[in-house]
């Protein structure tokens, strides 16, 4: 949360094929990509997914650096998972240092899991980088709308997600501002042990919580003042449309996913 750069929820506007795609199409294809990536365990199939990534980035017109930065928040998780697999997998021992042993199977498994997680985050990152929060929530609402007839609050959930996504950059900016403000009064967030560092964030968290509640109150009042009464009877200014572009994207993606699964089948 307090890292120097955060890409989660950060939309980069551009005039690209991916930006123009219907958000429902992008959400469904991202979910399909995640499932397909987890179905692949052989290195040739994972390599194919890796080669497919620059192609998708090319069609998104988003700078490669921005896509790579989107994986930074989960880098620790990826390294942690890799370490778990590296040191706790049985098999042919390559290195032994006391009670620590590294096996060939452990290395391969660590690499495989790291690649899967990395692809997962990068493909998901591309979704948020090319889809604005409002498009994203519209897409989700539309995808969840069939469940509304069973009493599922599709619109409300989409609205909550949209507000949460919308406020991520704002809260991040506010956090940075409060951190700078306290730093200028001599607060030290970078030295000392874990306890000292956690304690140093109290002067950041208290003003942040106060501000979040104030903002929530203001937002609720502003929504009520504009007669917001939930999803019933609401119309869209820009209705979502699934057309030729979406069909083309879906066909191309499915063809690639089928190829990756075929390679997986051959090499597995």
């Amino acid at each position: 949360m307090f890292s120097g750069n955060i890409a989660l929820g950060q939309y980069i506007p551009a005039d690209s094929f991916l930006h123009k795609l219907d958000p429902r199409c992008k959400i469904l294809l991202t979910i399909a990509a995640m499932v397909a990536i987890f179905m692949c365990s052989s290195f040739p199939a994972l390599l194919l997914w890796g080669l497919f990534l620059p192609v998708v980035i090319h069609f998104s017109k988003v700078p490669t650096r921005a896509v790579l930065v989107s994986a930074r928040p989960v880098l620790v998780l990826i390294v942690f998972t890799a370490c778990l697999h590296l040191f706790w997998t049985d098999g042919r021992v390559l290195v032994r240092l006391g009670f620590i042993k590294i096996t060939l199977e452990g290395c391969l498994l660590a690499l495989r899991m790291s690649l899967r997680l990395l692809y997962l985050v990068l493909y998901a990152g591309l979704l948020t980088l090319t889809t604005s929060p409002s498009e994203f929530s519209d897409g989700l609402e539309s995808l969840m709308s069939p469940f509304a007839r069973f009493g599922f609050p599709a619109h409300e959930i989409a609205m909550m997600m949209s507000i949460a996504l919308r406020f991520i950059p704002t809260l991040f900016e506010e956090t940075q501002r409060i951190i700078k403000s306290q730093k200028s009064r001599g607060a030290d967030f970078d030295s000392g042990g874990l306890y000292k560092r956690a304690k140093a964030y109290i002067p950041v968290l208290i003003p942040l919580f106060v501000m979040v509640f104030q903002r929530a109150d203001t937002l609720a009042a502003a929504m009520e003042a504009r007669c917001y009464r939930g999803g019933r009877g609401r119309v869209r200014m820009f209705p979502l449309a699934w057309g030729g572009r979406e069909n083309l994207a879906a066909c191309l993606f499915l063809a690639f996913a089928a190829l990756a699964l075929l390679v997986e089948r051959v090499f597995c």
């Binding site: 980069i12 506007p13 551009a14 700078p63 650096r65 921005a66 506010e174 501002r177 409060i178 700078k180 403000s181 306290q182 730093k183 200028s184 009064r185 001599g186 607060a187 030290d188 109290i202 002067p203 950041v204 208290i206 003003p207 106060v210 501000m211």
Partner: protein, 278 residues
């Protein structure tokens, strides 16, 4: 030994489509006991500049000197610079976190290692400097009025006894009496020998209280000089986003007609000049 900025550049989001240059070759200096106002419209780079003065942002290109210390990445230098240059951010009341006013104001000095026995004196001195009653020492700062909170935030910076204070839009959201109190606080700090960098888009206030003015537009310094020179320049040349204060504008028009012989932004001075003419 001034606070000096030499040929400072700053670019945000380098390599991204959102890349933009916030500062382009800025140079100026401010002495202790002087007020420098940095004026410019929203997005002109004022806040970015403020953060460089306090070493919250480090120069990508160019230099920032606080007295004889050049701002670098070195931790000891950063700490020394932040101690010498206090920073009051926009809406500083949003940084308040402590249970009592005493704790809030003591936060800065305590971080700088001021001994416990001196803390109380510093807290009382700072509250007096911003005109807050000492009976409020035990009060919850979050329960105070907006104007009082702003004064608490300024007191919490004064308590560290910085050589320079940077104030980023301190007048934002203040009513007329709040503005008067702020002007008094700044004048008192100036008298106490503190160098002040006052970031604002309120040209009227800037001309009223400043010794020097720096006019920023799209990250570039369009003017740097004394307040009198700035008044002259502002009348001769329009700067985007800056509206000439009505009294200054009137005195300029009257001078063109030969009714007064010098420019002023003070209505009383203008009235007396006109009275003299009559």
């Amino acid at each position: 030994m001034p606070l000096k900025v030499k040929d400072l550049y700053c670019t945000y989001n380098i390599g991204l489509p959102t890349e933009f240059e916030a500062l382009h070759g800025i140079s100026f200096e401010v002495e202790r006991g002087e007020i420098l106002s940095v004026v410019g419209r929203t997005g002109s780079g004022k806040s970015t500049l403020a953060q460089h003065l306090n070493a919250l942002l480090l120069p990508q290109k160019g230099e920032v000197w606080v007295d004889d210390l050049r701002v670098t990445q070195d931790k000891a230098v950063l700490r020394s610079v932040r101690r010498s240059v206090g920073c009051v951010f926009q809406y500083p009341e949003q940084q308040i976190f402590a249970d009592t006013l005493r704790e809030e104001v003591a936060f800065g000095p305590r971080n700088w290692g001021v001994p416990a026995e001196e803390l109380q004196a510093r807290v009382e001195e700072s509250l007096a400097a911003v005109g807050l009653d000492l009976s409020l020492l035990g009060a919850n700062p979050l329960a105070l009025s907006g104007g009082q909170k702003r004064r608490v935030a300024i007191a919490s910076v004064i308590a560290s006894r910085p050589s320079y204070i940077v104030l980023d839009e301190p007048s934002a959201g203040l009513d007329a009496s709040g503005l008067d109190e702020l002007t008094e606080i700044l004048a008192a700090r100036k008298k106490a020998g503190v160098g002040i960098v006052h970031i604002t888009h309120d040209l009227d206030l800037a001309l009223e209280i400043s010794d020097k003015l720096l006019i920023l537009d799209e990250g570039e310094a369009k003017f740097f000089g004394t307040a009198a020179e700035a008044a002259e320049q502002l009348c001769e040349q329009s700067f985007s986003g800056l509206e000439l204060p009505p009294v200054l504008n009137l005195s300029y028009e009257l001078r063109k007609l030969g009714r007064v012989d010098k420019l002023t932004n003070d209505p009383l001075v203008l009235a007396s000049m006109l009275g003299g003419a009559r």
